[in-house]
Protein backbone atom coordinates (compact mmCIF):
# COMPACT_ATOMS: atom_id res chain seq x y z
CA UNK A 1 0.00 0.00 0.00
CA UNK A 2 2.53 2.53 1.21
CA UNK A 3 5.02 1.54 -1.48
CA UNK A 4 2.43 2.05 -4.17
CA UNK A 5 1.39 5.40 -2.78
CA UNK A 6 5.00 6.55 -2.55
CA UNK A 7 5.63 5.32 -6.07
CA UNK A 8 2.75 7.41 -7.43
CA UNK A 9 3.84 10.37 -5.31
CA UNK A 10 7.40 10.24 -6.68
CA UNK A 11 6.29 10.14 -10.29
CA UNK A 12 3.66 12.84 -9.61
CA UNK A 13 6.11 15.22 -7.97
CA UNK A 14 8.64 14.66 -10.76
CA UNK A 15 6.24 15.53 -13.59
CA UNK A 16 4.64 18.16 -11.38
CA UNK A 17 7.98 19.98 -11.11
CA UNK A 18 7.98 20.36 -14.90
CA UNK A 19 4.40 21.65 -14.83
CA UNK A 20 5.50 24.08 -12.13
CA UNK A 21 8.26 25.46 -14.34
CA UNK A 22 5.80 25.82 -17.23
CA UNK A 23 3.25 27.46 -14.91
CA UNK A 24 5.90 29.93 -13.73
CA UNK A 25 6.51 30.75 -17.39
CA UNK A 26 2.80 31.40 -17.94
CA UNK A 27 2.72 33.58 -14.80
CA UNK A 28 5.77 35.63 -15.82
CA UNK A 29 4.37 36.51 -19.24
CA UNK A 30 0.85 37.00 -17.93
CA UNK A 31 2.07 39.46 -15.31
CA UNK A 32 4.14 41.45 -17.77
CA UNK A 33 1.58 41.63 -20.55
CA UNK A 34 -1.67 39.81 -19.68
CA UNK A 35 -0.92 37.53 -22.61
CA UNK A 36 -1.68 33.84 -22.06
CA UNK A 37 1.18 32.35 -24.02
CA UNK A 38 -0.06 29.17 -25.67
CA UNK A 39 3.44 28.62 -27.09
CA UNK A 40 4.77 27.90 -23.60
CA UNK A 41 4.61 24.13 -24.16
CA UNK A 42 6.83 24.45 -27.25
CA UNK A 43 9.66 25.80 -25.08
CA UNK A 44 9.45 22.62 -23.01
CA UNK A 45 9.57 20.60 -26.20
CA UNK A 46 12.47 22.67 -27.58
CA UNK A 47 14.46 22.14 -24.38
CA UNK A 48 14.15 18.38 -24.66
CA UNK A 49 14.65 18.10 -28.42
CA UNK A 50 17.60 20.54 -28.55
CA UNK A 51 19.42 18.86 -25.67
CA UNK A 52 19.08 15.53 -27.52
CA UNK A 53 20.37 17.14 -30.72
CA UNK A 54 23.36 18.84 -29.09
CA UNK A 55 24.43 15.73 -27.19
CA UNK A 56 24.18 13.75 -30.43
CA UNK A 57 26.53 16.30 -31.99
CA UNK A 58 29.01 15.22 -29.32
CA UNK A 59 28.92 18.35 -27.19
CA UNK A 60 29.63 17.80 -23.49
CA UNK A 61 26.43 17.56 -21.43
CA UNK A 62 26.83 20.92 -19.68
CA UNK A 63 27.33 22.76 -22.98
CA UNK A 64 24.40 20.95 -24.60
CA UNK A 65 22.12 21.88 -21.70
CA UNK A 66 23.22 25.51 -21.64
CA UNK A 67 22.61 25.82 -25.37
CA UNK A 68 19.25 24.03 -25.06
CA UNK A 69 18.19 26.67 -22.53
CA UNK A 70 19.69 29.67 -24.31
CA UNK A 71 18.28 28.91 -27.75
CA UNK A 72 14.61 28.68 -26.63
CA UNK A 73 15.16 31.93 -24.71
CA UNK A 74 16.20 33.56 -27.99
CA UNK A 75 13.11 32.07 -29.64
CA UNK A 76 10.98 33.56 -26.84
CA UNK A 77 12.52 36.99 -27.40
CA UNK A 78 11.92 36.69 -31.15
CA UNK A 79 8.25 35.80 -30.61
CA UNK A 80 7.81 38.83 -28.38
CA UNK A 81 9.70 41.16 -30.70
CA UNK A 82 8.16 40.01 -33.99
CA UNK A 83 4.66 38.83 -33.10
CA UNK A 84 3.50 40.27 -29.77
CA UNK A 85 4.98 43.77 -29.80
CA UNK A 86 3.44 44.82 -33.15
CA UNK A 87 -0.09 44.20 -31.82
CA UNK A 88 0.23 45.94 -28.45
CA UNK A 89 -3.14 46.32 -26.74
CA UNK A 90 -5.00 43.97 -29.09
CA UNK A 91 -7.96 41.80 -28.06
CA UNK A 92 -7.28 38.74 -25.91
CA UNK A 93 -8.54 36.55 -28.75
CA UNK A 94 -6.02 38.06 -31.17
CA UNK A 95 -3.15 37.52 -28.74
CA UNK A 96 -4.22 33.93 -28.06
CA UNK A 97 -4.32 33.19 -31.79
CA UNK A 98 -0.88 34.75 -32.32
CA UNK A 99 0.72 32.60 -29.64
CA UNK A 100 -1.05 29.53 -31.06
CA UNK A 101 0.35 30.47 -34.49
CA UNK A 102 3.81 30.78 -32.94
CA UNK A 103 3.47 27.38 -31.33
CA UNK A 104 2.48 25.73 -34.64
CA UNK A 105 5.40 27.49 -36.32
CA UNK A 106 7.92 26.21 -33.77
CA UNK A 107 6.46 22.69 -33.72
CA UNK A 108 6.42 22.54 -37.52
CA UNK A 109 10.04 23.72 -37.84
CA UNK A 110 11.13 21.18 -35.25
CA UNK A 111 9.39 18.39 -37.15
CA UNK A 112 11.03 19.49 -40.41
CA UNK A 113 14.57 19.78 -39.07
CA UNK A 114 14.73 17.25 -36.23
CA UNK A 115 12.22 14.72 -37.52
CA UNK A 116 9.01 13.28 -36.16
CA UNK A 117 10.61 10.45 -34.21
CA UNK A 118 10.71 9.92 -30.46
CA UNK A 119 14.07 10.61 -28.82
CA UNK A 120 15.51 9.91 -25.44
CA UNK A 121 18.26 11.62 -23.50
CA UNK A 122 20.57 9.59 -21.26
CA UNK A 123 19.92 10.19 -17.54
CA UNK A 124 22.45 12.69 -16.13
CA UNK A 125 23.76 10.36 -13.42
CA UNK A 126 22.99 6.78 -14.36
CA UNK A 127 19.75 4.89 -13.97
CA UNK A 128 20.36 2.75 -10.87
CA UNK A 129 17.07 3.25 -8.99
CA UNK A 130 17.14 4.43 -5.39
CA UNK A 131 15.01 2.38 -2.99
CA UNK A 132 12.95 4.37 -0.50
CA UNK A 133 10.55 2.41 1.76
CA UNK A 134 9.94 -0.13 -0.98
CA UNK A 135 9.29 2.44 -3.71
CA UNK A 136 11.88 3.22 -6.35
CA UNK A 137 13.06 6.66 -7.29
CA UNK A 138 14.93 7.34 -10.51
CA UNK A 139 18.09 9.39 -9.95
CA UNK A 140 16.87 11.66 -12.74
CA UNK A 141 13.87 12.59 -10.57
CA UNK A 142 16.31 14.12 -8.10
CA UNK A 143 17.78 16.17 -10.96
CA UNK A 144 14.28 17.34 -11.89
CA UNK A 145 13.41 18.31 -8.33
CA UNK A 146 16.80 19.85 -7.62
CA UNK A 147 16.82 21.79 -10.88
CA UNK A 148 13.32 23.09 -10.27
CA UNK A 149 14.14 24.09 -6.70
CA UNK A 150 17.25 25.94 -7.89
CA UNK A 151 15.29 27.73 -10.61
CA UNK A 152 12.60 28.78 -8.12
CA UNK A 153 15.23 30.03 -5.67
CA UNK A 154 17.00 31.94 -8.43
CA UNK A 155 13.72 33.54 -9.46
CA UNK A 156 12.95 34.47 -5.86
CA UNK A 157 16.38 36.02 -5.51
CA UNK A 158 15.98 37.86 -8.80
CA UNK A 159 12.60 39.32 -7.93
CA UNK A 160 13.38 40.34 -4.35
CA UNK A 161 17.07 41.23 -4.46
CA UNK A 162 17.81 42.81 -7.82
CA UNK A 163 16.80 46.11 -9.35
CA UNK A 164 15.80 44.39 -12.61
CA UNK A 165 13.55 41.98 -10.80
CA UNK A 166 11.87 44.74 -8.87
CA UNK A 167 11.38 46.69 -12.07
CA UNK A 168 9.56 43.69 -13.52
CA UNK A 169 7.34 43.40 -10.45
CA UNK A 170 6.60 47.11 -10.61
CA UNK A 171 5.58 46.81 -14.26
CA UNK A 172 3.29 43.91 -13.45
CA UNK A 173 1.65 45.92 -10.66
CA UNK A 174 1.11 49.06 -12.69
CA UNK A 175 2.59 49.52 -16.14
CA UNK A 176 1.89 53.24 -16.43
CA UNK A 177 3.31 54.07 -13.02
CA UNK A 178 6.36 51.95 -13.80
CA UNK A 179 6.85 53.84 -17.06
CA UNK A 180 6.55 57.16 -15.22
CA UNK A 181 9.39 56.31 -12.84
CA UNK A 182 11.57 55.44 -15.81
CA UNK A 183 11.30 51.66 -16.06
CA UNK A 184 11.70 50.54 -19.68
CA UNK A 185 8.55 48.40 -19.81
CA UNK A 186 9.34 47.13 -23.30
CA UNK A 187 12.51 45.58 -21.91
CA UNK A 188 10.48 44.00 -19.10
CA UNK A 189 8.25 42.30 -21.63
CA UNK A 190 11.25 40.95 -23.56
CA UNK A 191 12.84 39.74 -20.35
CA UNK A 192 9.70 37.93 -19.27
CA UNK A 193 9.47 36.06 -22.58
CA UNK A 194 13.16 35.12 -22.41
CA UNK A 195 12.87 33.96 -18.81
CA UNK A 196 9.70 31.97 -19.29
CA UNK A 197 11.14 30.29 -22.38
CA UNK A 198 14.28 29.40 -20.43
CA UNK A 199 12.21 28.01 -17.54
CA UNK A 200 10.11 25.90 -19.89
CA UNK A 201 13.20 24.63 -21.69
CA UNK A 202 14.84 23.72 -18.38
CA UNK A 203 11.77 21.66 -17.47
CA UNK A 204 11.83 19.94 -20.84
CA UNK A 205 15.53 19.08 -20.54
CA UNK A 206 15.26 17.68 -17.02
CA UNK A 207 12.21 15.59 -17.89
CA UNK A 208 13.47 14.28 -21.25
CA UNK A 209 15.45 11.31 -19.80
CA UNK A 210 12.32 10.13 -17.94
CA UNK A 211 9.51 10.52 -20.46
CA UNK A 212 11.30 10.67 -23.84
CA UNK A 213 10.62 13.59 -26.13
CA UNK A 214 9.34 14.32 -29.63
CA UNK A 215 8.25 17.32 -31.66
CA UNK A 216 4.66 17.16 -30.39
CA UNK A 217 5.04 16.75 -26.61
CA UNK A 218 4.69 20.49 -26.09
CA UNK A 219 0.92 20.71 -26.49
CA UNK A 220 -0.07 18.54 -23.54
CA UNK A 221 2.79 19.64 -21.27
CA UNK A 222 2.00 23.28 -22.00
CA UNK A 223 -1.73 22.89 -21.42
CA UNK A 224 -1.08 21.13 -18.13
CA UNK A 225 1.30 23.91 -17.12
CA UNK A 226 -1.51 26.30 -17.95
CA UNK A 227 -3.90 24.34 -15.70
CA UNK A 228 -1.28 24.55 -12.95
CA UNK A 229 -1.02 28.32 -13.43
CA UNK A 230 -4.80 28.74 -13.22
CA UNK A 231 -4.93 26.43 -10.21
CA UNK A 232 -2.39 28.56 -8.38
CA UNK A 233 -4.11 31.79 -9.36
CA UNK A 234 -2.97 33.23 -12.70
CA UNK A 235 0.09 35.39 -12.22
CA UNK A 236 0.94 34.14 -8.74
CA UNK A 237 4.51 32.77 -8.55
CA UNK A 238 4.18 30.61 -5.43
CA UNK A 239 0.76 29.49 -6.62
CA UNK A 240 2.28 28.36 -9.92
CA UNK A 241 4.80 26.12 -8.15
CA UNK A 242 2.24 24.61 -5.76
CA UNK A 243 -0.27 24.31 -8.61
CA UNK A 244 2.27 22.47 -10.77
CA UNK A 245 3.16 19.97 -8.06
CA UNK A 246 -0.51 19.46 -7.23
CA UNK A 247 -1.48 18.82 -10.86
CA UNK A 248 1.39 16.34 -11.18
CA UNK A 249 0.51 14.51 -7.96
CA UNK A 250 -3.24 14.37 -8.65
CA UNK A 251 -2.55 13.15 -12.17
CA UNK A 252 -0.26 10.37 -10.95
CA UNK A 253 -2.68 9.36 -8.16
CA UNK A 254 -5.63 9.42 -10.55
CA UNK A 255 -3.75 7.33 -13.08
CA UNK A 256 -2.72 4.87 -10.40
CA UNK A 257 -5.90 4.53 -8.38
CA UNK A 258 -8.70 5.45 -10.79
CA UNK A 259 -7.91 4.97 -14.48
CA UNK A 260 -4.69 5.23 -16.40
CA UNK A 261 -6.61 5.74 -19.65
CA UNK A 262 -8.02 8.99 -18.28
CA UNK A 263 -4.70 10.22 -16.87
CA UNK A 264 -4.52 13.13 -19.31
CA UNK A 265 -8.10 14.17 -18.55
CA UNK A 266 -7.46 14.70 -14.84
CA UNK A 267 -5.83 18.15 -15.07
CA UNK A 268 -8.72 19.33 -17.24
CA UNK A 269 -11.38 18.06 -14.86
CA UNK A 270 -9.40 19.96 -12.25
CA UNK A 271 -9.51 23.19 -14.24
CA UNK A 272 -13.30 22.97 -14.56
CA UNK A 273 -13.70 22.38 -10.83
CA UNK A 274 -11.38 25.28 -10.06
CA UNK A 275 -13.26 27.64 -12.36
CA UNK A 276 -16.58 26.60 -10.86
CA UNK A 277 -15.66 26.75 -7.20
CA UNK A 278 -12.63 28.98 -6.74
CA UNK A 279 -12.11 31.03 -9.92
CA UNK A 280 -9.20 33.00 -8.47
CA UNK A 281 -7.21 29.86 -7.89
CA UNK A 282 -5.87 28.57 -4.62
CA UNK A 283 -3.69 31.58 -3.97
CA UNK A 284 -5.28 34.32 -6.03
CA UNK A 285 -6.59 37.34 -4.20
CA UNK A 286 -10.14 38.48 -4.63
CA UNK A 287 -10.34 40.19 -7.97
CA UNK A 288 -11.86 43.59 -8.31
CA UNK A 289 -12.95 45.04 -11.58
CA UNK A 290 -12.07 48.45 -12.80
CA UNK A 291 -14.63 50.17 -14.96
Amino acid sequence: MLEQFLQYLFSGVTVGATYALAALGFALIYNASHVINFAQGEFIMLGGMLSVMFTQWGLPLWAALLLAIALPAVVGVLIEKLAIEPVKGADTVVLIIITIGASLFIRGLTAVFLGKGTFSLAPFSGDAPINILGATLQPQSLWVLGGTALAVLALWWFFTRTLQGKAMLATAANRLAAQLVGIPTGWVLLMSFAMSAALGALGGILLAPITMTSYDVGIMLGLKGFVAAVLGGMGNGLGAVVGGLLVGILEAMGAGYISSAYKDAIPFVLILLILFFMPNGLFGGKSTERV
Binding site: V112, A265, V269, I271, E289
Partner: protein
Protein backbone atom coordinates in the same frame (compact mmCIF):
# COMPACT_ATOMS: atom_id res chain seq x y z
CA UNK B 1 -36.72 53.64 -41.25
CA UNK B 2 -35.48 54.24 -44.74
CA UNK B 3 -31.91 54.04 -43.52
CA UNK B 4 -32.34 50.69 -41.84
CA UNK B 5 -34.01 49.43 -44.97
CA UNK B 6 -31.10 50.45 -47.14
CA UNK B 7 -28.69 48.84 -44.68
CA UNK B 8 -30.74 45.67 -44.86
CA UNK B 9 -30.70 45.75 -48.61
CA UNK B 10 -26.93 46.03 -48.65
CA UNK B 11 -26.61 43.25 -46.07
CA UNK B 12 -28.95 40.95 -47.95
CA UNK B 13 -27.05 41.71 -51.18
CA UNK B 14 -24.35 39.42 -49.89
CA UNK B 15 -26.89 36.70 -49.20
CA UNK B 16 -28.19 36.84 -52.79
CA UNK B 17 -24.62 36.72 -54.06
CA UNK B 18 -23.90 33.61 -51.98
CA UNK B 19 -27.10 31.94 -53.16
CA UNK B 20 -26.19 32.72 -56.78
CA UNK B 21 -22.67 31.34 -56.39
CA UNK B 22 -24.02 28.19 -54.74
CA UNK B 23 -26.51 27.70 -57.59
CA UNK B 24 -23.87 28.00 -60.31
CA UNK B 25 -21.02 26.18 -58.58
CA UNK B 26 -21.96 22.52 -59.27
CA UNK B 27 -22.18 23.26 -63.01
CA UNK B 28 -18.69 24.79 -63.24
CA UNK B 29 -16.75 22.49 -60.89
CA UNK B 30 -14.72 20.16 -63.10
CA UNK B 31 -15.06 16.95 -61.02
CA UNK B 32 -16.27 15.36 -57.79
CA UNK B 33 -12.99 16.15 -56.03
CA UNK B 34 -13.83 19.85 -56.19
CA UNK B 35 -17.47 19.18 -55.34
CA UNK B 36 -16.30 17.38 -52.21
CA UNK B 37 -14.15 20.37 -51.22
CA UNK B 38 -17.09 22.69 -51.87
CA UNK B 39 -19.30 20.61 -49.54
CA UNK B 40 -16.61 20.68 -46.83
CA UNK B 41 -16.22 24.44 -47.23
CA UNK B 42 -19.97 24.96 -46.88
CA UNK B 43 -20.18 22.72 -43.80
CA UNK B 44 -17.28 24.57 -42.19
CA UNK B 45 -18.86 27.90 -43.10
CA UNK B 46 -22.04 26.96 -41.23
CA UNK B 47 -20.05 25.77 -38.19
CA UNK B 48 -17.98 28.96 -38.20
CA UNK B 49 -21.12 31.11 -38.47
CA UNK B 50 -22.40 29.54 -35.25
CA UNK B 51 -19.06 29.96 -33.51
CA UNK B 52 -18.72 33.55 -34.70
CA UNK B 53 -22.01 34.48 -33.03
CA UNK B 54 -20.32 33.49 -29.78
CA UNK B 55 -16.77 34.76 -30.40
CA UNK B 56 -17.47 37.80 -32.54
CA UNK B 57 -20.75 39.06 -31.20
CA UNK B 58 -20.66 38.04 -27.55
CA UNK B 59 -16.86 38.37 -27.30
CA UNK B 60 -16.47 34.94 -25.70
CA UNK B 61 -13.88 32.58 -27.14
CA UNK B 62 -14.51 28.83 -27.14
CA UNK B 63 -11.38 26.69 -27.38
CA UNK B 64 -13.38 23.47 -27.21
CA UNK B 65 -15.91 23.78 -29.98
CA UNK B 66 -14.64 20.66 -31.70
CA UNK B 67 -15.73 18.80 -28.57
CA UNK B 68 -19.34 19.72 -29.30
CA UNK B 69 -18.89 18.77 -32.95
CA UNK B 70 -17.51 15.47 -31.72
CA UNK B 71 -20.49 14.79 -29.48
CA UNK B 72 -22.85 15.41 -32.39
CA UNK B 73 -20.80 13.29 -34.77
CA UNK B 74 -20.53 10.38 -32.36
CA UNK B 75 -24.21 10.61 -31.41
CA UNK B 76 -25.00 10.14 -35.10
CA UNK B 77 -22.53 7.28 -35.37
CA UNK B 78 -23.11 5.40 -32.12
CA UNK B 79 -26.84 5.74 -31.39
CA UNK B 80 -28.08 4.32 -34.72
CA UNK B 81 -25.33 1.66 -34.74
CA UNK B 82 -25.71 0.40 -31.18
CA UNK B 83 -29.38 1.14 -30.44
CA UNK B 84 -30.97 1.38 -33.88
CA UNK B 85 -32.07 5.00 -33.40
CA UNK B 86 -33.25 6.97 -36.42
CA UNK B 87 -30.42 9.32 -37.55
CA UNK B 88 -32.57 12.41 -37.07
CA UNK B 89 -33.43 11.37 -33.53
CA UNK B 90 -29.74 10.69 -32.84
CA UNK B 91 -28.88 14.13 -34.21
CA UNK B 92 -31.44 15.71 -31.90
CA UNK B 93 -30.17 13.76 -28.91
CA UNK B 94 -26.61 14.95 -29.60
CA UNK B 95 -27.74 18.56 -29.83
CA UNK B 96 -29.72 18.23 -26.62
CA UNK B 97 -26.76 16.68 -24.81
CA UNK B 98 -24.49 19.51 -25.98
CA UNK B 99 -27.04 22.13 -24.99
CA UNK B 100 -27.37 20.70 -21.49
CA UNK B 101 -23.61 20.34 -21.12
CA UNK B 102 -23.06 23.92 -22.27
CA UNK B 103 -25.75 25.20 -19.91
CA UNK B 104 -24.16 23.37 -16.99
CA UNK B 105 -20.75 24.87 -17.80
CA UNK B 106 -22.14 28.32 -18.59
CA UNK B 107 -23.97 28.88 -15.33
CA UNK B 108 -20.96 29.18 -13.05
CA UNK B 109 -18.60 30.54 -15.72
CA UNK B 110 -20.60 33.53 -16.85
CA UNK B 111 -20.97 34.88 -13.36
CA UNK B 112 -17.24 35.60 -13.65
CA UNK B 113 -15.84 38.53 -15.56
CA UNK B 114 -13.23 38.06 -18.23
CA UNK B 115 -12.29 35.28 -20.55
CA UNK B 116 -12.81 32.27 -18.34
CA UNK B 117 -14.90 30.56 -21.01
CA UNK B 118 -11.69 30.02 -23.00
CA UNK B 119 -10.19 28.01 -20.15
CA UNK B 120 -13.39 26.11 -19.33
CA UNK B 121 -14.08 25.14 -22.94
CA UNK B 122 -10.44 24.18 -23.41
CA UNK B 123 -10.78 21.75 -20.52
CA UNK B 124 -14.18 20.49 -21.61
CA UNK B 125 -13.08 19.91 -25.21
CA UNK B 126 -10.01 17.93 -24.19
CA UNK B 127 -12.03 15.79 -21.75
CA UNK B 128 -14.55 15.01 -24.50
CA UNK B 129 -11.85 14.03 -26.99
CA UNK B 130 -10.10 11.82 -24.41
CA UNK B 131 -13.41 10.14 -23.57
CA UNK B 132 -14.13 9.49 -27.27
CA UNK B 133 -10.67 7.98 -27.66
CA UNK B 134 -11.04 5.70 -24.62
CA UNK B 135 -14.63 4.42 -24.69
CA UNK B 136 -13.74 1.92 -27.36
CA UNK B 137 -16.84 -0.29 -27.02
CA UNK B 138 -19.05 2.66 -28.00
CA UNK B 139 -16.81 4.82 -30.18
CA UNK B 140 -14.37 2.43 -31.79
CA UNK B 141 -11.51 4.12 -29.90
CA UNK B 142 -8.68 5.85 -31.75
CA UNK B 143 -9.62 4.11 -35.01
CA UNK B 144 -13.06 5.69 -35.11
CA UNK B 145 -16.24 4.12 -36.44
CA UNK B 146 -18.45 4.18 -39.55
CA UNK B 147 -21.59 6.33 -39.62
CA UNK B 148 -24.85 4.93 -41.05
CA UNK B 149 -26.34 6.86 -43.96
CA UNK B 150 -28.79 9.68 -43.37
CA UNK B 151 -32.22 8.98 -44.80
CA UNK B 152 -35.83 10.06 -44.56
CA UNK B 153 -38.99 8.31 -45.84
CA UNK B 154 -37.01 5.67 -47.66
CA UNK B 155 -34.89 8.24 -49.48
CA UNK B 156 -31.21 8.02 -48.71
CA UNK B 157 -28.71 10.86 -48.99
CA UNK B 158 -25.74 9.34 -50.71
CA UNK B 159 -24.20 11.11 -53.71
CA UNK B 160 -21.94 14.13 -53.34
CA UNK B 161 -24.36 16.12 -55.46
CA UNK B 162 -27.34 15.44 -53.18
CA UNK B 163 -25.22 16.40 -50.21
CA UNK B 164 -24.13 19.55 -51.99
CA UNK B 165 -27.70 20.80 -52.29
CA UNK B 166 -28.55 19.95 -48.67
CA UNK B 167 -25.47 21.73 -47.36
CA UNK B 168 -25.92 24.68 -49.72
CA UNK B 169 -29.48 25.14 -48.46
CA UNK B 170 -28.23 24.91 -44.86
CA UNK B 171 -25.65 27.60 -45.56
CA UNK B 172 -28.13 30.02 -47.13
CA UNK B 173 -30.60 29.53 -44.28
CA UNK B 174 -27.84 29.98 -41.68
CA UNK B 175 -26.61 33.21 -43.27
CA UNK B 176 -30.17 34.52 -43.43
CA UNK B 177 -30.83 33.52 -39.81
CA UNK B 178 -27.54 35.06 -38.59
CA UNK B 179 -28.24 38.36 -40.35
CA UNK B 180 -31.67 38.49 -38.72
CA UNK B 181 -30.43 37.44 -35.33
CA UNK B 182 -27.84 40.21 -35.32
CA UNK B 183 -30.50 42.81 -36.08
CA UNK B 184 -32.88 41.46 -33.43
CA UNK B 185 -33.03 42.78 -29.86
CA UNK B 186 -31.12 39.64 -28.85
CA UNK B 187 -28.34 40.42 -31.30
CA UNK B 188 -28.16 44.05 -30.23
CA UNK B 189 -27.86 42.96 -26.60
CA UNK B 190 -25.00 40.63 -27.57
CA UNK B 191 -23.15 43.36 -29.39
CA UNK B 192 -23.73 45.71 -26.48
CA UNK B 193 -22.16 43.34 -24.01
CA UNK B 194 -19.19 42.79 -26.30
CA UNK B 195 -18.70 46.56 -26.34
CA UNK B 196 -18.95 47.00 -22.60
CA UNK B 197 -20.38 44.55 -20.12
CA UNK B 198 -20.78 47.18 -17.44
CA UNK B 199 -22.55 49.65 -19.72
CA UNK B 200 -24.94 47.00 -21.00
CA UNK B 201 -25.67 45.89 -17.46
CA UNK B 202 -26.48 49.47 -16.57
CA UNK B 203 -29.04 49.73 -19.38
CA UNK B 204 -30.66 46.50 -18.27
CA UNK B 205 -29.08 43.70 -20.30
CA UNK B 206 -28.84 40.52 -18.24
CA UNK B 207 -25.23 39.84 -19.22
CA UNK B 208 -24.85 36.36 -17.73
CA UNK B 209 -28.11 35.14 -19.24
CA UNK B 210 -27.38 36.44 -22.73
CA UNK B 211 -23.87 35.03 -22.76
CA UNK B 212 -25.22 31.76 -21.44
CA UNK B 213 -27.93 31.43 -24.06
CA UNK B 214 -25.66 32.26 -27.01
CA UNK B 215 -23.15 29.70 -25.72
CA UNK B 216 -25.83 27.01 -25.36
CA UNK B 217 -27.19 27.79 -28.85
CA UNK B 218 -23.72 27.76 -30.33
CA UNK B 219 -22.93 24.40 -28.71
CA UNK B 220 -26.17 22.73 -29.83
CA UNK B 221 -25.69 24.14 -33.31
CA UNK B 222 -22.12 22.78 -33.42
CA UNK B 223 -23.44 19.36 -32.42
CA UNK B 224 -25.94 19.36 -35.28
CA UNK B 225 -23.22 20.32 -37.73
CA UNK B 226 -21.02 17.59 -36.26
CA UNK B 227 -23.81 15.13 -37.08
CA UNK B 228 -24.13 16.50 -40.61
CA UNK B 229 -20.37 16.20 -41.16
CA UNK B 230 -20.35 12.65 -39.80
CA UNK B 231 -23.16 11.55 -42.14
CA UNK B 232 -21.50 13.23 -45.09
CA UNK B 233 -18.04 11.75 -44.49
CA UNK B 234 -19.49 8.40 -43.43
CA UNK B 235 -16.81 7.85 -40.80
CA UNK B 236 -15.76 9.55 -37.55
CA UNK B 237 -12.45 9.55 -35.71
CA UNK B 238 -11.57 11.20 -32.40
CA UNK B 239 -9.36 13.70 -34.29
CA UNK B 240 -12.60 15.41 -35.23
CA UNK B 241 -13.05 16.45 -31.58
CA UNK B 242 -9.39 17.42 -31.06
CA UNK B 243 -8.02 20.61 -29.56
CA UNK B 244 -6.35 21.31 -32.90
CA UNK B 245 -9.69 21.20 -34.71
CA UNK B 246 -11.10 23.70 -32.18
CA UNK B 247 -8.16 25.96 -32.93
CA UNK B 248 -8.76 25.63 -36.67
CA UNK B 249 -12.37 26.74 -36.20
CA UNK B 250 -11.43 29.75 -34.07
CA UNK B 251 -8.82 30.60 -36.69
CA UNK B 252 -11.47 30.59 -39.41
CA UNK B 253 -13.52 33.03 -37.33
CA UNK B 254 -10.60 35.34 -36.68
CA UNK B 255 -9.08 35.26 -40.17
CA UNK B 256 -12.43 35.95 -41.84
CA UNK B 257 -13.33 38.58 -39.31
CA UNK B 258 -14.87 38.52 -35.88
CA UNK B 259 -18.48 39.63 -35.78
CA UNK B 260 -18.72 39.43 -39.55
CA UNK B 261 -21.25 37.05 -41.10
CA UNK B 262 -19.58 37.12 -44.49
CA UNK B 263 -16.18 37.00 -42.84
CA UNK B 264 -17.14 33.63 -41.35
CA UNK B 265 -17.76 32.27 -44.82
CA UNK B 266 -14.55 33.70 -46.28
CA UNK B 267 -12.56 32.40 -43.33
CA UNK B 268 -14.06 28.92 -43.66
CA UNK B 269 -13.52 28.81 -47.42
CA UNK B 270 -9.89 29.99 -47.24
CA UNK B 271 -8.82 27.75 -44.38
CA UNK B 272 -10.55 24.69 -45.82
CA UNK B 273 -8.70 25.29 -49.08
CA UNK B 274 -5.39 25.97 -47.35
CA UNK B 275 -4.40 22.35 -46.53
CA UNK B 276 -5.13 21.39 -50.16
CA UNK B 277 -2.97 24.27 -51.37
CA UNK B 278 -0.23 23.40 -48.87
CA UNK B 279 -0.20 19.71 -49.79
CA UNK B 280 2.57 20.47 -52.27
CA UNK B 281 4.84 21.76 -49.48
CA UNK B 282 5.14 18.38 -47.85
CA UNK B 283 6.20 18.57 -44.22
CA UNK B 284 6.00 22.35 -44.14
CA UNK B 285 2.18 22.60 -43.74
CA UNK B 286 2.25 23.27 -40.00
CA UNK B 287 4.99 25.88 -40.34
CA UNK B 288 3.12 27.73 -43.07
CA UNK B 289 -0.20 27.43 -41.24
CA UNK B 290 1.39 28.96 -38.12
CA UNK B 291 3.03 31.74 -40.12
CA UNK B 292 -0.26 32.61 -41.84
CA UNK B 293 -2.05 32.72 -38.48
CA UNK B 294 0.49 35.12 -37.03
CA UNK B 295 0.68 37.27 -40.15
CA UNK B 296 -3.12 37.56 -40.35
CA UNK B 297 -3.40 38.62 -36.73
CA UNK B 298 -0.53 41.09 -36.95
CA UNK B 299 -1.52 42.77 -40.20
CA UNK B 300 -5.30 42.25 -40.21
CA UNK B 301 -6.27 41.94 -36.54
CA UNK B 302 -9.90 42.63 -37.41
CA UNK B 303 -9.95 39.88 -40.01
CA UNK B 304 -10.06 39.95 -43.80
CA UNK B 305 -13.64 41.02 -44.48
CA UNK B 306 -14.00 43.88 -41.94
CA UNK B 307 -10.54 45.24 -42.84
CA UNK B 308 -11.19 45.17 -46.57
CA UNK B 309 -14.71 46.57 -46.09
CA UNK B 310 -13.32 49.47 -44.09
CA UNK B 311 -10.72 50.16 -46.76
CA UNK B 312 -13.37 50.00 -49.47
CA UNK B 313 -15.75 52.41 -47.77
CA UNK B 314 -12.91 54.86 -47.11
CA UNK B 315 -12.22 54.91 -50.85
CA UNK B 316 -15.85 55.60 -51.58
Amino acid sequence: MSMSKSVNKRVYGGLYLIAAILLVLPWVLPNSFYLDIAVRMAINAVIVLGLNLLVGFAGQISLGHAGFLGIGAYASAALPTHFGWHPLLAMGAGALACGVLAALVARPIFRLKGNYLAMATLGLGIIISIALRNETQWTGGPDGMPVPAMGLFGFELSSDRQWYWVVAALLVVSVWASLNLIDSPFGRALRALHGSEVASQVVGVNVARYKGSIFVMSAAFASIMGSVTAHYVGFVTPNFADFFHSIELVTMVVVGGMASVYGSIIGAVLLTALPQALATFEGWETVIFGAILMACMIFLPKGLVPTLAARWSRKE
